[in-house]
């Protein structure tokens, strides 16, 4: 293992080629020492005959064909792990970035992880209350789920993520500790700083592990950032038995880094130039969410991605949606209309919520109110598009009711303050109150018994009065 190779055969982008090597393993790590004593890290990306192709995480600037000595470590990329990770800040490659020195490792973990055996998984059932009505009621976040936020540039996804982190409570049997692993990929310095400040202000910083690969950091490092973060998360969850929420932002920047790297390897591109294995690659990250049967602890993921040009069919949101268990979609129209959080409820979805809500979890009528809200709000969209053609005056009485319902739904249910933390009870009651703005016969998704119990037109009128008064 002490064998050193002098010089390189060739350099292309972030890749270097060594020849006449022996006993090199696919995927192992290498240390590249420059003549000036600085060190870089590389990973074997391909082996061919006696040639090894390495990707260099810190970039290849300053490397020449003669000024390097390369040593292979015989190990895949690993990360030191210990309970002391909490409260620390690391670079995107998992090195300390807070000046507090190296982590004293209890063990090392392969950052690529290993696929979790489906029979070892426990099906996620317990919900996480975020205190945000639209999420809690309509797309409930479940412990062990991966639920991405689909956003666009300039939308308030960062604010929403911070609010979720601050308010997230693990409902029920919350004996275990809760912590956040934060992975930043290609985000601006200001944004990273915003997250750090927000975590500090809300006093959760000691329970946060941060991995920061900023917009001006090397892209090869960006590819390993989420892997470092998830390795830390898995360790804390399954070995330290904590409930971990992993916030990863921005997945689009990650995918673009992957594309850049892929094209520098000369690979055949798929859609929009992204490599054909983008799906598998994203899955190798997202699938690391989950719960293991018989082990306390969980990994819940909240990835954030910005849809280029707000296009939900772009490969990154598209493939993400196929892997994750639902999505929270933000909408520019709502944001401009002053709605915070600007969650577009119709395309949003939580696939796991059906088994984590209702009797014994939230409330027996949760599914009913959620289904009816979705269905009625879909009618609102139809009424609005009709109104834009024939004018509001010409609408039928029912369609006018829908317009009113839509207005109050957005104003009272979707909108809430950055520090407003609504309980599940409050949220569900609010849902029924708003539905009561509509005639009973229009609520066809609900059993009569449930409807009779919760239909409350007086409360709806009171709410309307209150809003009117508030607006003068």
């Amino acid at each position: 293992m002490s064998l050193q190779y002098f010089g390189l055969h060739s350099i292309s982008g972030s890749l270097v080629v060594l020849d006449h090597v022996e006993g090199v393993q696919f995927d192992e790590m290498a240390r590249i020492v420059l003549d000036d004593g600085t060190e870089r890290t590389g990973r074997v990306a391909m082996l061919e005959g006696d040639k090894a192709i390495l990707q260099v995480f810190e970039g290849t600037h300053g490397l020449s064909l003669t000024n390097t000595r390369t040593q292979f470590t015989g190990r895949p990329m690993e990360m030191p792990l210990s309970a002391d990770l909490l409260g620390r800040v690391f670079t995107g490659a998992g090195r300390p970035a807070d000046g507090l020195g190296e982590v004293v490792p209890e063990k090392f973990g392969d950052i690529n992880g290993a696929p979790l055996n489906p029979v070892s998984r426990q099906y996620p059932r317990n919900y996480i209350q975020t205190g945000i009505s639209s999420i809690d009621c309509l797309m409930t976040l479940i412990r062990g789920q991966k639920l991405p936020i689909f956003s666009g540039t300039g939308l308030s996804h960062n604010k929403l993520a911070v609010q979720i982190v601050q308010q997230a409570q693990i409902a029920k049997d919350s004996g275990a500790e809760f912590a956040v692993v934060f992975a930043a990929m290609g985000i601006q310095n200001d944004v990273a700083d915003y997250f750090r400040r927000s975590f500090a202000e809300s006093g959760v910083l000691q329970n946060v592990v941060m991995f920061l690969n900023l917009a001006n950091d090397p892209i090869v490092e960006r590819i390993i950032t989420p892997r470092c973060a998830l390795t830390a998360a898995e360790y804390l969850a399954y070995e330290k038995h904590m409930h971990i929420l992993v916030v990863m932002t921005d997945m689009t920047a990650y995918a673009e880094a992957l594309r850049e790297f892929s094209s520098s390897k000369g690979e055949i591109p798929g859609r929009k130039g992204f490599p054909g294995y983008l799906y598998s690659d994203l899955a190798s990250l997202y699938e690391r969410a989950g719960i293991i049967e018989g082990i306390e602890g969980s990994v819940t993921q909240l990835p954030i991605l910005t849809m280029p040009n707000d296009d939900i069919t772009h490969p990154v949101p598209d493939l993400t949606g196929y892997i994750t268990e639902g999505q929270i979609v933000l909408d520019r129209g709502l944001e401009q209309g002053g709605v915070y959080p600007p969650i577009s409820v119709l395309p949003s979805l939580s696939r796991l919520m059906k088994d984590g809500i209702g009797e014994g979890y939230t409330r027996a009528d949760h599914a009913a109110v959620a289904n009816q809200l979705f269905a009625s709000y879909a009618q609102v969209q139809d009424a609005r598009s009709l109104a834009s053609v024939i004018g509001e005056e010409e609408l039928s009485a029912l369609d006018k009711k829908y317009l009113e319902f839509g207005k109050y739904f957005e104003k009272c249910f979707l909108s809430q303050g950055f520090t407003e933390n609504r309980s599940m009870e409050e949220t569900l009651e609010l849902g029924w109150t708003l539905l009561s703005l509509l005639p009973k016969s229009a609520l066809d998704r609900v059993d009569d018994a449930v409807l009779n119990e919760h239909y409350a037109p007086e409360a709806a009128e009171a709410l309307v009065r209150k809003v009117r008064e508030r607006n003068g």
């Binding site: 696929p115 029979v119 069919t313």
Partner: protein, 591 residues
């Protein structure tokens, strides 16, 4: 003697060897010191290309590659049912005991339980002449399924030894056959079959019987035949997986093969949990007793994902040969196509559309053509039905996988984002979907449900079609301009959509609806349509009809009348007739 072949290059899951000729195409090989499972996918005089079914991290050039002399095969025998396998038929529970919650590499675990004893009844005596496909023994595999041990299709001969009835393990010898060349073949409870070769059958039968799913939109409007093929394309969140779960739970196939191909881990866990807990309406036992799961989730090695659908269909063909009807759920064939693309890219093949290899259509057709209803080699009747989910990129149905799949399947159940957003489930768009089996199955519906079934179906789809064209007008200028009879069509179409097509998978009665109730519901809707249309002709206001509550009653029928009390349709029809008569009398009084 040639040197042992060694690895020349490693690139992701693709490994190449130089200067060797010991391998044959599609041969299974062991790669490296850790003996990872691989398959030969390319041969030239200079290079042999191998795809590896496990993670290649840590492989070195120069490590040995060991040929096995046999193509990539699955082990067939009792113990397949109730099990969950990965894409190359490695049992996941055994992998769990071998390597813990996370799947390791190079694990050598037995495919089927070698210790379990089965109650075997031997069906032949010494001296019996046997042909390929004939049963020589049987054993109850689970309480729901009797397993037949069949002579491998390519073998025939005379029985020279037959064990007594009794308890045997899968590797115990049951009979010995002497073939015409005098060679002796020892047959146990299990055998092997290459996954990429279809098992032979005697005769292909024309589709004549529907596979009943209990889902109204499928059984009534777009039925699939036993031995048929269907595709469910839909963007994410439109309910592909949910629809497949519903079909798997309720369809009248004997055995379910559920292939999770590159999908979510939590989903497979859910299937495993739910199917185990679900009481099978046919046997009263757990549904898992007649189910096999193949789980190659999206983070498991990509080459095994490519193999998983072949593994699944080979298992299905094996049970078909015993005379069972099998339904395969493949979720999702797009992930399989992507695995093809990924490997093709590593091989630096010339890409066709969107980077997919040019052989995508031929691979798809090969897969779908392995379905069908057959007379088996032993004269039984069995079928393999495939329902494949397709995940179109960007929900765009013009992408290569959807388009090519469309050419090879005969049922197309297109899922619609707009319906899913409105939480109309199953979100199968009735204007876009079709079934080519309607004519083949018309006879069955007439004989087994009602002579009028097909007429009613035609009428229902005509109403939906008419609504679609009317809605085009409404969207432009509002509904007020339409005459009352056209407004009525829109109202009745709403009854069909909400009261009939929409089905609640979480409602105890509504999750599965037998054909006769589907028929009675259609009948009721059409009855109300004809009655109300007549009333309009007698100048009764549409508003009066709407506010009479009749329409709401029809919509709630799916919940109000249980599947076993269909006679209540008669009383309900009387009640509705009474209400409509009252409207007419009122109108006359006013006049």
């Amino acid at each position: 003697m040639m040197q042992q072949p060694v690895i020349y290059s490693v690139n992701g899951p693709v490994v190449k060897i130089r200067n060797t000729n010991v391998f044959s195409m599609m041969e299974m090989v062991y790669v490296g010191k850790r003996r990872l499972i691989g398959e030969v996918i390319g041969l030239t005089d200079a290079e042999t290309t191998i795809q590896v079914y496990e993670s290649t991290s840590g492989l070195e050039t120069g490590e040995p590659v060991e040929p096995t002399g046999a193509p990539m095969s699955v082990t067939l025998g009792p113990g397949i049912l109730m099990n969950i396998f990965d894409g190359i038929e490695r049992p996941l529970r055994a992998l769990e005991s071998a390597s813990g919650a996370f799947i390791g590499d190079g694990l050598d675990v037995p495919i089927l339980d070698t210790e379990k004893e089965y109650d075997v009844t031997v069906k032949v005596k010494v001296g019996t002449r046997m042909q390929g496909g004939e049963a020589y023994a049987s054993c109850p595999e689970t309480s729901a399924i009797l397993h037949l041990c069949l002579v491998p299709p390519n073998l025939s001969g005379k029985v020279v030894f037959a064990a007594k009835d009794g308890k045997y393990r899968i590797n115990d010898e049951i009979i010995r056959l002497e073939d015409s060349a005098g060679r002796i073949h020892s047959l146990t409870l299990c055998q092997k079959w290459p996954i990429r070769r279809a098992r032979p059958a005697a005769k292909r039968l024309a589709p004549s019987r529907p596979m009943i799913t209990g889902q109204r939109v499928l059984d009534t409007l777009f039925p699939i035949a036993r031995g048929g093929t269907a595709a469910i394309p839909g963007g994410f969140g439109t309910g592909k997986t949910m629809t497949q779960h519903q079909i798997a739970k309720w369809c009248d196939a004997d055995i379910i093969v559920y292939i999770g191909c590159g999908e979510r881990g939590n989903e497979m866990t859910q299937v495993l949990e739910e199917f185990t807990a679900l009481k099978d309406p046919r046997t009263g036992k757990s549904l898992m007793e007649r189910t096999v799961l193949i789980a190659n989730t999206s983070n498991m090695p990509v080459a095994a994902r490519e193999a998983s659908i072949y593994t699944g269909i080979t298992l299905a063909e094996y049970y078909r040969d015993m005379g069972y009807h099998i339904a395969i759920m493949a979720d999702s064939t797009s992930r399989w196509a992507e695995a093809l693309r990924e490997i093709s890219g590593r091989l630096e093949e010339m890409p066709a559309e969107e980077g997919y290899p040019a052989y995508l259509p031929s691979r798809l057709s090969e897969f779908y053509e392995r379905t069908g209803a057959y007379e088996t080699l032993n004269g039984r009747e069995g079928s393999v039905t495939v329902i494949g989910a397709v995940s179109p990129q960007g929900s765009d149905f013009s992408e290569p996988v959807t388009q090519n799949t469309r050419r090879f399947v005969r049922c197309f159940w297109g899922l619609d984002k707009a319906l899913a957003y409105a939480r109309h489930y199953p979100a199968i768009n009735w204007n876009m979907s079709y079934s080519e089996y309607l004519d083949d199955l018309a006879n069955y519906y007439e004989k087994n449900v009602d002579l009028k079934f097909n007429t009613y179906r035609t009428e229902i789809s005509a109403l939906l079609k008419e609504e679609q064209s009317l809605m085009d007008i409404v969207r432009l200028i509002g509904s007020d301009v339409l005459p009352d009879d056209q407004k009525l069509v829109i109202e009745i179409a709403r009854l069909i959509r909400v009261g009939f097509l929409q089905q609640n998978a979480y409602h105890a009665e509504d999750t599965y609806v037998p054909l006769d109730k589907q028929f009675r519901m259609m009948e009721l809707i059409l009855h109300v349509y004809h009655r109300t249309k007549a009333l309009l002709a007698e100048h009764v206001d549409l508003e009066a009809i709407k506010s009479s509550g009749v329409l709401e009653m029809v919509i709630k029928v799916k919940y109000d009348i249980p599947n076993r009390q269909l006679e209540r349709f008669d009383t309900l029809t009387q009640q509705i007739d009474g209400m409509l008569d009252a409207l007419r009398t009122q109108k006359k009084e006013v006049l």
